[in-house]
Symmetry: none
Subunit: 229 residues, 2 copies
Amino acid sequence: MSNPAEILIIDDEVQMRKLLEITLQSNDYTVRQAATAKEGIIMAANHPPDMIILDLGLPDEDGHSVLQKLREWYTNPVIILSVQSNEEDIIKALDSGANDYLTKPFRTGELLARMRSALRGTFTEENNPVLNFNNLQIDLSARTVKKNNELIKLTATEYTLLATFAKNEGKVLTHHYLLREVWGPGFINQSQYLRVFIAQLRKKIEDDPNRPEYFVTESGVGYRFVFKE
Amino acid sequence: MSNPAEILIIDDEVQMRKLLEITLQSNDYTVRQAATAKEGIIMAANHPPDMIILDLGLPDEDGHSVLQKLREWYTNPVIILSVQSNEEDIIKALDSGANDYLTKPFRTGELLARMRSALRGTFTEENNPVLNFNNLQIDLSARTVKKNNELIKLTATEYTLLATFAKNEGKVLTHHYLLREVWGPGFINQSQYLRVFIAQLRKKIEDDPNRPEYFVTESGVGYRFVFKE
DNA sequence: CACATCTTTATAAAATCTTTATACAAACGT
DNA sequence: ACGTTTGTATAAAGATTTTATAAAGATGTG
């Protein structure tokens, strides 16, 4: 749904910070702000954001030097804003590790698009979806399932079934729905398939397969995937 | 020493191609060129370059459409060049997967810096040259593989396949994905290729090829490259 | 041509899916 | 209460799909 990416703005101009804050927040980013280089570096270090927007013209320290310090350890995207548009500055910033360089005044739509471009490919929650249930972890991008941090070997069908449950945690899923999602529309009457595979998942995932906690039977209707914390 | 990154230029203007060719070659890039969208897509598919520089104003097809087609499978950086500087075009291109957008005429120094920035973070050159797994070392820039410090002789295809695995350690890679990455988009149904080459890699790399530890089969789905420390 | 490599074919083995058989449990009507 | 019906659980046999590997054929390169 919303984009939970956290952005740190380092800029000394109040108006600019305010403009960025409003623009970014209305696009579902979480915004933190710093007015000086020193403050910005401390904030980044204490709680690394998903992206830093850095103004080159800071009062207390040269922007290029700030960028270099950040890049010693900070690996997420850094976008530079600057009133300078001379080539030398741009090249220097990009070669110091900036991901992009925009000249003030900039168009907010373009900034947002360049932010999306830079954030693409980084590992925010959105990009690397790991579903967490109790001691069970399902990594949808790696297609792996761990229980108590140990990999569980699932067949293709077992995994698809589990993923379907995990995406609908708490909901009752009917036999029809599950059969159609996992096996296809032609299989909606093969309820026995479902019983067999539920039994297999229980054997692999439940602590006590005879007393299922994750996979609850809703007799006559279907199954429900639950977890209590 | 030199930067072996291979760049594909897709631009219909001869002068522009010539300018880029000279600029890039004198910066140690290998350059290939296409004058039309059709030609460019074919060249990219046959032998995926490390980066594509795409002119939006091609005669035979809309540039945005070309970009979208490329992004269906091409994952390396794409930089857009365009005479258009209206915000709508820029946003559209960036949101379609472009890594950067420069307006013609551009400053060559800036282009080169933006290229370096975009190539940073990809594996192709001498960035993260050595991946370490257990007793296995993969030097991506030298294209060499060592096991227990002894060089292992791999063919081009074997190496590409191994490198693809190494870059996605822990993830399940589907047959489709591997075939597309290693052989190209036209080969996604040749699963037997994969089996043959996996067997070869296991023979060369696994301690006991009959009990594979690095190359794990995910039956019906693909393979996964793992290493336990 | 000789060589290395890639592609294709053949076949055995392994893994997975489907089907069958049987047991259990709850609901229902008489 | 009793037997019957309906729905569920599980093991295990059978069928099918997928995989592993060797080896033969094709291709290309110096």
